[in-house]
């Protein structure tokens, strides 16, 4: 009996988190019902920016209501099975399209905790050169590296940023590092938001060990315990306005298929949009908030995948998701290189062919190293509303980005061969693989071809960027709309330009910085009224 009790207790702390003040929209808002709520601040979205902002606003004594379109999936419900996990945790099961040349897939979270539940956990500060650009060239006040430092410190405390324990590194990590060092490239340790990570590599499908310190296990339960409220399955349609100020939001309860249930309205003094760089501009457009920059300047941080096939067994599914990155080419070429092992079902789509030929390649799954180059894109896309009033994204990579992608792919191919690969599979439909380092110049020789490049992204940003003047962007330097100051933005859409690195920490730091200002403004408004 004693032994049984001891075994029962042997679960991570994250399996026992309490989530008070949570209501399921499908339970409280069946079809035909309209629910109305009041709050000081309504936060739309519970991801990196939404949760951080909600926490800060609650700490400032405001009555905060968080609205989340997805469901609350607890840590103990996460499984190492990508297909049902993608259906439960991702918007569109991870298959949202970005139209353009070439078209690409975009994946983002749709659950409590947002994309922090399904990202790789990379926690990089915004590079100093980017902050200096925002501060000096774009004229955004209090954005320089020194002023931002305490917010990054605070973000890292919330996220519990640490380096990966070396015991948890897989053979794929060692091979990646080995290849880079042979070429004399500097390899950077990846700061990640993990606590005692054991290297399961299920980050993209919800971490069942609870090691990843996503908003689901950090700021959301903390804010709820402090008195914030959370309403799940609540999709916001538009902001309600009166006399040039927002008075709240209106929306509908929806389930995982997007089926519509009851309606809701929230009346609030402050509306914080943190629905992501795709849905935040859509909500603003549907609310008839006019600024010609809403939805424009979209950056996608595109990612091209390259596979190396080795003679030695790697078992890429064993070991931490990503412990190292190469930033050697980031400042000069705008290319960041990293590896990430993905489950066979997802890797299969990146390998051309079908039937027997495909099976012959996939039999080598345990001998494959998958790496990608992320491009600091210079081109700009846009988010518009389709005939169904849902957001559609368009992004054409420009000729400089095409060149960056080819350079990045060539660098990875070089790394793979240096690490001992016998074949490298490329992300080009018409030039699928190379078998020798002598073929690398052929990659650069085709650098102006873009139609057959296979790209995907998980980092879209800047679609409602912060700018000093309303003529340059819809939000001011504190994330508030120039045209409606009690509407604020706390997600990646407010980022002024491409950050070049994984944006989670930038989003959290900016949300913390801006939320302080919003809370202060509400306090001042109250004092004036008294």
């Amino acid at each position: 009996m004693k032994l049984q009790l001891a075994e029962a207790a042997l679960v991570p702390r994250e399996h026992r988190i309490a989530y008070p003040n949570v209501e399921d929209g499908l339970v409280v808002g069946p079809r035909g019902v309209v629910r109305t709520f009041d709050a000081d601040a309504v936060v739309v979205g519970s991801g990196a920016g939404g949760a951080a902002a909600a926490g800060r606003l609650r700490d400032a004594g405001l009555d905060v209501l968080i609205l989340e379109e997805g469901e609350l999936h607890r840590t103990e419900s996460f499984r190492a099975d990508p297909i049902p996990s993608a259906q439960r945790l991702y918007r569109d099961a991870g298959t949202s399209p970005i139209l353009g040349k070439p078209p690409m897939l975009f994946a983002e979270g749709r659950c409590v905790g947002g994309s922090t539940v399904i990202n790789g956990g990379m926690s990089w500060r915004t590079p100093d050169r980017v902050l200096q650009h925002w501060s000096r060239e774009l004229g955004l006040e209090a954005m320089d590296p020194k002023t931002m430092e305490p917010y990054f410190d605070a973000a890292e405390k919330i996220l519990n940023v640490e380096f990966q324990n070396e015991d948890t590194l897989g053979a794929h990590d060692k091979l990646f590092v080995e290849g880079a060092r042979r070429l004399g490239w500097e390899v950077k340790d990846n700061p990640r938001n993990v606590d005692r990570c054991v290297g399961l590599n299920n980050c993209a499908y919800g971490c069942p060990t609870g090691a990843k310190q996503s908003m689901l296990v950090t700021e959301i339960p903390r804010a709820l315990a402090a008195g914030a409220r959370l309403l799940t399955n609540a999709r916001v349609w538009r902001i309600l306005t009166s006399g040039g100020r927002a008075t709240g939001v209106r929306g509908r309860f929806v389930d995982e298929y997007g089926r519509r249930y009851g309606k809701f309205e929230v009346r609030a003094k402050l509306v914080v949009l943190a629905a992501g760089a795709r849905f935040t501009p859509a909500i603003l457009k549907r609310s008839w908030i006019r600024n010609r920059h809403i939805g424009r300047h979209l950056h996608t941080h595109p990612n091209a995948k390259v596979l190396g096939i080795f003679d030695r067994r790697i078992d890429p599914w064993r070991g931490a998701h990503q412990a190292h990155q190469i930033h050697q080419f980031l400042a000069d070429e705008g290319v960041m290189i990293a590896y990430a092992a993905v489950p066979p079902g997802l890797l299969a789509a990146a390998i051309p062919g079908f039937g027997r030929a495909h099976g012959d390649k996939m039999r080598l799954y345990n001998y494959m190293l998958s790496a990608g180059c992320l491009i600091e894109d210079g081109g700009e896309g846009k988010v518009g509303l389709g005939p169904d009033l849902q957001p559609w994204m368009r992004f054409d990579i420009d000729k400089w980005d095409v060149e960056k992608i080819h350079r990045g792919v060539a660098h990875i191919a070089e790394l793979m061969f240096a690490a001992g690969a016998r074949k490298v599979i490329l992300p080009f439909g018409e030039f699928p693989e190379i078998a020798s380092p002598d073929d690398i110049p052929r990659i650069l020789a085709r650098k102006h071809v873009r139609h057959d490049i296979e790209l995907m992204t998980v980092h879209i940003m800047s679609s409602c960027r912060m700018a000093r003047e309303a003529s340059d962007g819809p939000a001011d330097a504190w994330g508030r709309l120039h045209d409606a100051p009690n509407v604020a933005i706390a997600d990646a859409s407010a980022i002024p330009s491409s950050v070049g690195v994984n944006p989670m920490e930038t989003i959290v730091a900016l949300a913390l910085r801006n939320a302080e200002k919003w809370a202060e403004q509400i306090r001042q408004d109250r004092q004036i009224r008294r």
């Binding site: 629910r35 640490e162 054991v198 060990t209 298929y257 089926r259 039937g355 495909h358 099976g359 799954y365």
Partner: protein
């Protein structure tokens, strides 16, 4: 709970606790087209020769309703296009699902090289089939992968690590937290 404090509801339509219908229904004819495509697209030979086609079919059909609306509605339309298009590719008045397996493989191979949206349609079907195929437990066993067993083991391991001080659980944490400078 706090919701009880919300203002009284205004009822605009009859309240119904019955969920709305699923966003998609597939006819048996549509399923047969997909079945025929899966039989060719799925890897064959050696250890991969497992009886998983029906599980792959169920996997694909359960995935599609989660996809964006245009894909959700475009998928069955696309399947019928593939079914009826052999005529365009010079195979005469015959449906794809009635071609013999070798001819069907050659026919789908031509879709792989088709231009623009036709290729995307084929790519979507190929990706869904392969994704569902390689995540079948029997196929994962062939690839010697047992991610879930490893997950169960590591959940327990982490629970043990949580009983240790952070610097003992990860020696790289001694006296510092990582700073994400670049």
């Amino acid at each position: 709970m706090w919701i009880a404090k919300a203002l009284p509801n205004r009822l605009r339509a009859p309240v119904s606790t019955v969920p709305p219908p699923l966003p998609f229904h597939y006819t048996e004819a549509t399923r047969n087209i997909l079945r025929a495509a899966i039989a060719v697209l799925r890897p064959h030979g050696g250890d991969f020769e497992k009886d998983v086609d029906e599980a792959v079919l169920r996997g694909v059909l359960s995935f599609v309703p989660h996809m964006p609306p245009f894909a959700r509605y475009g998928f069955p339309v696309g399947l019928w296009l593939i079914e009826l298009a052999p005529l365009l590719y010079g195979n005469g008045f015959v449906r794809m699902s009635r071609l013999d397996p070798l001819a069907r493989e050659r026919y789908l191979g031509r879709w792989e090289r088709a231009p623009g949206p036709f290729r995307m349609l084929f790519e979507g079907m190929r990706a869904l089939t392969l994704m569902c195929f390689y995540q079948q437990p029997e196929i994962l066993a062939v690839l010697e992968i047992d991610w879930q067993a490893r997950a169960d083991e590591l959940v327990e391991r982490r629970a043990r690590l949580q009983r240790m001080a952070p610097e003992l659980a990860n020696p790289r944490n001694v006296g510092k937290i990582a700073r994400g400078g670049s």
